[in-house]
Assembly symmetry: C2
Homo-oligomer: 315 residues x 2
């Protein structure tokens, strides 16, 4: 599949950081950055943009903040070779803490929101655009949103100046048929806008659903190295780049950084296909209960987790 | 997706056995059998059917042979609650070593063959049918077969009495679009026959490709518990059963047997998504080089494997 409009956004540090509170050291982040430059990936999402008052630096790593000084420790004053993105959560960043684009190494700010936060997200995105940034709005957990609420949110987004709207399968609950139907709905309700996809791998469908979304017309594609990310993780970047036929992309730098920097994290954190994540995906639930189970000393007691999760539906 | 014609074939012992030379003990095989009975899976493929002269029992476990005495140690003389299948390789089983159906606990014999072995496969399948068995022919490695050869093989299979023909993605090389095109081709060339799918997970597409095949009209579906199988493994049975909407199927017994009998094997053998398997899948190659790499002490040297595999294409 080669379509010049397609852009690939690596979310390794941002989404992977959800599993280790963004405690990636500078060398790790720089190595990922250099690999993505060599692979010619379009954007690196280097973390979340948060006000310093929203979290404590003694608890979470620098990529929860993405201050300009944090970014400079990775860029080392060199000219940037790919675009940098950061994600902002509603309520965790004050508008006055966002630097004008001219003083920042960030190119794009992506606003993550739930359906009831769409108005706040649009306001924040417009603020970022007015400061000079590219923006997207990533509408999360749409697998739990009813059709009327979703259409209303899409209509509001359609009237905004935000150029890119994301379809986010937060719970890894969608099959490819869902992606086809939703992509059609997004494209109809959001004429003239670019649509993005962010998939989770609870049912081993993140890559497949990303392919389906490409075929359906989606052009902004999120992925992470070796699929690292919250819970079951994301669409693996190395698979996506191998699939895309744009000759500019290179796979080898991705394999190299996976060997040197990602595989060591496999010893410390469990992302990927595990039964608890599969269960929350099939049941269309937030993965937090599965993550808590995986972090407990009963991680292999998968039947217990299944029984707890399914019995909560009864009575 | 609910379609009464759909049959699910568990290949845990047969395909998983490719990773441990079928050294599953009787308790393991019985537990898998009981779980599949409770889950109401249609068939259990319990191993390969081989002549005793083809292998040595001091080297490979009993499920490389599937002698009637082996099967009885699992069934314990009880009435069977699901159908049993065994796979036969051309050249590894003499016709005279196949019992008449009336003396065997097997219900189905599946003949695996490459495209140049189709005539031999049809002869063996007809022999098995004449002895009273259900049969299938599983045409392997079609991702490496040219269109003229494939059409010729399909036409020969179409003229046979064999009722079920399998589309086999031996190398985990196919994307869903390939599955759609091939399913259409199989159905056109094999009117009146049932088509099956056996997918491998090198690119995390085994489950997705199985879903695509169902939507395209395929009715015999192979899967294994937790995806255990050669190299990257297979379509995970627990995902497939969760997807199929036939209310007869139960997921809980599968989760239970995964916890008790499959997870312990994760400590001993590496199946699933690993970069070497991804590389052979993307490159449409047999996984044997990747398996050898994964069994070596350089398993995490994935860049070395990538370089060796891709440089073999040059010069």
């Amino acid at each position: 599949m080669y379509r010049p409009e397609i852009k690939v956004i690596d979310c390794t540090v941002r989404d992977g950081g959800l599993m280790n509170k963004w405690h990636f050291d500078d060398k790790f982040v720089r190595n990922v950055y250099l690999a993505l430059c060599e692979a010619r990936v379009d954007y690196m999402e280097i973390g979340y943009l948060s006000s310093e008052s929203a979290f404590s630096r003694s608890e979470v790593g620098p990529w929860r903040f993405c201050g300009e000084a944090d970014l400079q420790r990775v860029l080392l004053g060199e000219e940037k070779r790919i675009k940098l993105s950061a994600m902002a959560d509603i309520g965790r960043i004050e508008q006055e803490d966002i630097l004008p684009k001219s003083e920042s190494s960030l190119d794009m700010i992506r606003i993550a929101c739930y359906v009831h936060q769409v108005d706040a997200a649009i306001a924040l995105a417009h603020h970022c655009q007015d400061k000079g940034y590219e923006t997207t709005i990533n509408l999360m957990a749409v697998s739990t949103v009813g059709p009327r609420d979703l259409n209303e949110a899409l209509d509001d987004l359609g009237k905004s100046r935000v150029p890119v709207i994301y379809l986010v399968d937060s719970f890894g609950a969608f099959y490819s048929e869902d992606i086809e139907v939703l992509t059609k709905q997004y494209m109809e309700r959001l004429p003239g806008k670019t649509i993005g996809i962010h998939a989770h791998n609870n049912q081993q469908l993140a890559f497949a659903n990303t392919i389906t979304s490409i075929i359906s017309g989606i052009n902004f594609l999120d992925a992470t190295l070796y699929g690292i990310g919250r819970g079951a993780g994301n669409c693996p970047l190395e698979l996506l780049i191998s699939f895309l036929k744009n000759p500019k992309f290179k796979v080898r730098p991705l394999i190299k950084v996976i060997e040197e920097d990602i595989l060591p994290w496999r010893e410390k954190i469990d992302w990927g296909y595990f039964i608890p994540y599969m269960v929350t995906g099939v049941m269309n639930q937030h993965p937090r209960t599965a993550i808590a189970h995986m972090e407990s000393d009963r991680k292999d007691k998968v039947l217990e987790f299944y029984d707890q999760t399914t019995s909560a539906l009864e009575g």
